[in-house]
Amino acid sequence: MFNNYKAGMVRLLKNIYFIGGCLIAFFVTFLFSSGNYTLPFLAKYPLIESTVFVSAAITLYFSAFTPLFMASEYTDGFIRNRIINGYSQKEIYFAMLLCMESALFIMTLVYLVGGGLGLLIAGESMTSEALSRIFIYIIAVFGYVALMTTVSFRITKLLGSVITCVVIFNMTFNLVLFGNALVAFSSGTVFKVARIVYNINVLGQWFIATGLADLEANPGTASQIVISVCVFAVSVLAGIFGLSKRDLKN
């Protein structure tokens, strides 16, 4: 598995879309956090809030990048070569998962460096409270990336996986809009269920992290992390369920 992981990492670090994505993450975060550019409704808040706000782009980026990166597994017979070499599909899946999570880790670091530098230039500092909010949201993104990896690994056609991943992202966005209304107007058991659904959704957690969401939508840090871990676990289980018996046609 680690050989596959190493090979994946070499490919990842040379991937032009990943390098470009990291550069964009750095410069965009820097622009927002240094106060050079801001959105009208964020202008009245401290700059750290803008930094937290742009982190949504990480989710969007991985919705598009994961299927693109994983697609190469199914072109040119890569995955068959690996299987002939004695690796199981499960091992390849875990190597890819680890690879994508490492990609997320690297991008988060780049994002934090960009944000920290911008704040430093603007004369503000990264508060530990804001950092913990970002941290909780990134845990949710780890779960989301696992879901994207599973979708991209399960759907062997690039076209199918790209469309599915972007549609899932669009659904998470819709769910935030719908969830905001639902959390605000419901009560009792419906409210509790709505709150859990709102937090399963990665953009819901992002909206809570930005502080723009309803205060009641936040079930507490521990619950948020547990929900994210559950999303991760379910995604991985869905990824490996019956994987060894799968036929590889293309």
Partner: protein, 255 residues
């Protein structure tokens, strides 16, 4: 040109992906209206009006058309059809124009099926249209069809320009999502829930121009402008797609 257009249309009509997307268009509004009906009926004890069902396509239209067009166009590059066409002596501009026409056709087809789904949902779950007349509804669907055609043309242009690399899969879908967020923000500023808009000066002009003439902003659940604005907006985007696309596609190297 006509021969290529014929073959493209033939492919579109027989495409499994498009058929799936059309079925989805037909069923999605009905399912959404059913959920809304259950919520409104059981929670509030109220009846739905026909107008409440006219939002399904508005929320997914641009993305759906982009996805359908991507499915139809990108296979030309992956299975070498484009190269075959060029080898057969077809002009590049003809190949491009025929693909964009196909994209527009797919867009219109998608919107027609979604309109059918929405009308069906209105017929089953609501007590009828309260404010809109038949002419208004027809105008609304016509405006959506125009916007879909323009988005179809633009998304096809993007795929044709970037075709051959992995990158071709992304821009159409991401742009559809991006403009959806922008459109929501613009609508929020131009038509606030309480009172009138607070925008002034250049910003008001830019926002209004965007809202009035940009097809990606036309995926709304009611008509905001006269039909002529929608026609002009769609025509401009289609013209841009053709001109820009032909210029770039003529110089493109096939890998």
């Amino acid at each position: 040109m006509l021969r290529i257009l014929y073959s493209d249309l033939h492919k579109i009509i027989n495409s499994r992906g498009l058929k799936f997307s059309l079925w989805f268009c037909l069923i999605y509004p009905v399912v959404q209206a059913l959920v809304l009906y259950l919520v409104v009926h059981t929670y509030m004890g109220d009846e739905l009006a026909g107008e409440d069902t006219l939002f399904s396509y508005a929320s997914i239209g641009a993305l759906l058309v982009s996805a359908a067009v991507l499915y139809l166009t990108v296979s030309d590059f992956s299975d070498g059809t484009i190269k075959n066409k060029v080898i057969n002596g077809a002009k590049r501009s003809d190949i491009f124009c025929s693909a964009v026409c196909g994209g527009m056709f797919a867009g219109v087809l998608t919107s027609v099926f979604c309109a059918a789904g929405e009308l069906l949902a209105g017929f089953i779950f609501t007590k009828g249209y309260e404010i809109l007349t038949k002419a208004d509804i027809a105008k609304y669907f016509l405006a959506l069809a125009l916007a879909s055609a323009a988005v179809g043309a633009f998304a096809t242009m993007l795929v044709m320009i970037f075709g051959g690399s992995f990158f071709a899969y992304i821009p159409g879908l991401v742009i559809a999502f991006f403009f959806r967020v922008i459109s929501m923000r613009v609508a929020d500023k131009l038509y606030p829930e309480n009172g009138v808009t607070t925008l002034t000066g250049t910003r008001l002009k830019v926002y209004t121009l965007y809202d009035r003439y940009f097809p990606y902003a036309h995926f709304t659940n009611y008509l905001r402008w006269d039909l002529l604005s929608y026609v002009i907006g769609a025509a401009i985007l289609i013209a841009i797609s053709f001109i820009l696309g032909v210029i770039i596609f003529n110089r493109k190297e096939f890998k």
